[in-house]
């Protein structure tokens, strides 16, 4: 299992402490306190980052339930690796990288399991039971046709507002690759949704 234990990037990932130096120092104090064994401090870090962590995981996995599992796994990995984290580094960037790796591991495990279980039948496309219209249904289907990375990049960029550099850091790929993945993901979606867009 690959779990990032340090991120040596120079930019600061958007995080709940952004734009507020006091909150940044509060977060650092929480990290130090959690490293010294305070579970209350770690709970405070969870409270601070769980929404953003969920967003990262949700962009990579296919379902809400998998995103929840990945968030829990990610925080568990972060807790275990906490003593190796340098408090001078941005905690958010480190944590979201761990979340992305936990999500990618889960996607890989799901693929292996699905290949075992559905080897005799055709794979069922992901379908959100709550989807209301045709575009939403077809978009959900089209997203399953993208590669994991293309899907993650387009969701992180278009839904969560991450920059290319931030996506590169989270997914462990160069910024240029994130940009190119986004371009190809959009082109693939345009192609896959061409007929439905004509029908609407």
């Amino acid at each position: 299992m690959t779990v990032a234990t340090a991120v040596h990037s120079t930019f600061t990932m958007p995080s709940p402490s952004d734009g507020n130096p006091r909150r940044g120092s509060d977060e650092r104090a929480l990290v130090v306190s959690a490293q010294q064994g305070s579970s209350e401090a770690f709970a405070a870090l969870v409270r601070l980052h769980q929404r953003r962590a969920y967003a990262v995981c949700r962009a990579i996995v296919l379902t809400h339930e998998d995103a929840e599992d990945a968030v829990q796994e990610g925080f568990l990995h972060a807790f275990r690796a906490l003593d190796r984290f340098l408090p001078d580094q941005p905690f958010g960037a480190w944590l979201y990288r761990i979340m992305a790796n936990a999500s990618l591991d889960l996607v890989r495990r799901r693929k292996v399991r699905d290949a075992d279980e559905l080897s005799e039948s055709s794979p069922a496309p992901f379908r959100d039971p709550g989807e209301a219209d045709e575009l939403r249904r077809r978009l959900s289907q089209a997203l399953t046709r993208l590669t994991d990375r293309q899907r993650s990049v387009i969701v992180l960029h278009d839904v969560e507002g991450f920059t290319h550099g931030e996506i590169g850091s989270v997914l462990g790929i160069p910024e240029g690759t994130a940009r190119s993945d986004l371009h190809h993901a959009r082109a693939a979606l345009r192609r896959l949704l061409k007929d439905v867009r004509s029908d609407i």
Partner: protein
């Protein structure tokens, strides 16, 4: 019909809007409080495991072992140093009792006997008529 646009690096606003609807995070504090509780529950499970307890003891045990090794090394070094110093002292410092004085009592007895013997012989010779 909505045309796919190419503005903002090819983003289609309608697709982006639908994507946001599909990927919308759950709303409401109860959900996030529950998720936090589940996360902390898993962490507590792990934290209370016997191997975590073992892990907690690894660092102090390593420090204690290092201190013991250091103390043993210092003691061995000191013992060797004292041994070397004693050996040098034995070689370089003259013995407090000279060799002659040890031998002298033995010689002294012999010389005394010889002297008495010579003196006695002379006296005996003088007494002879």
């Amino acid at each position: 019909m909505t045309k796919l646009t190419t503005h903002n690096e090819g983003e289609d606003p309608e697709v982006a809007r639908t994507l946001r609807a599909i990927y919308a995070a759950p709303v409401g504090e109860p959900y996030w409080n529950d998720l936090e509780a589940r996360i902390m529950g898993r962490i507590t499970e792990v934290d209370l495991g016997w191997w975590a307890e073992l892990d907690r003891w690894v660092r102090p045990a390593l420090v204690a072992a290092a201190v013991l090794v250091l103390a043993a090394s210092v003691a061995m070094f000191r013992a060797r140093q004292v041994e070397t110093e004693t050996a040098y002292e034995n070689i370089l410092t003259p013995s407090p009792v000279p060799v002659e004085t040890v031998i002298r009592p033995t010689l002294e007895g012999d010389r005394e006997a010889s002297l008495r013997d010579v003196v006695g012989h002379r006296e005996r010779s003088n007494r002879r008529p």
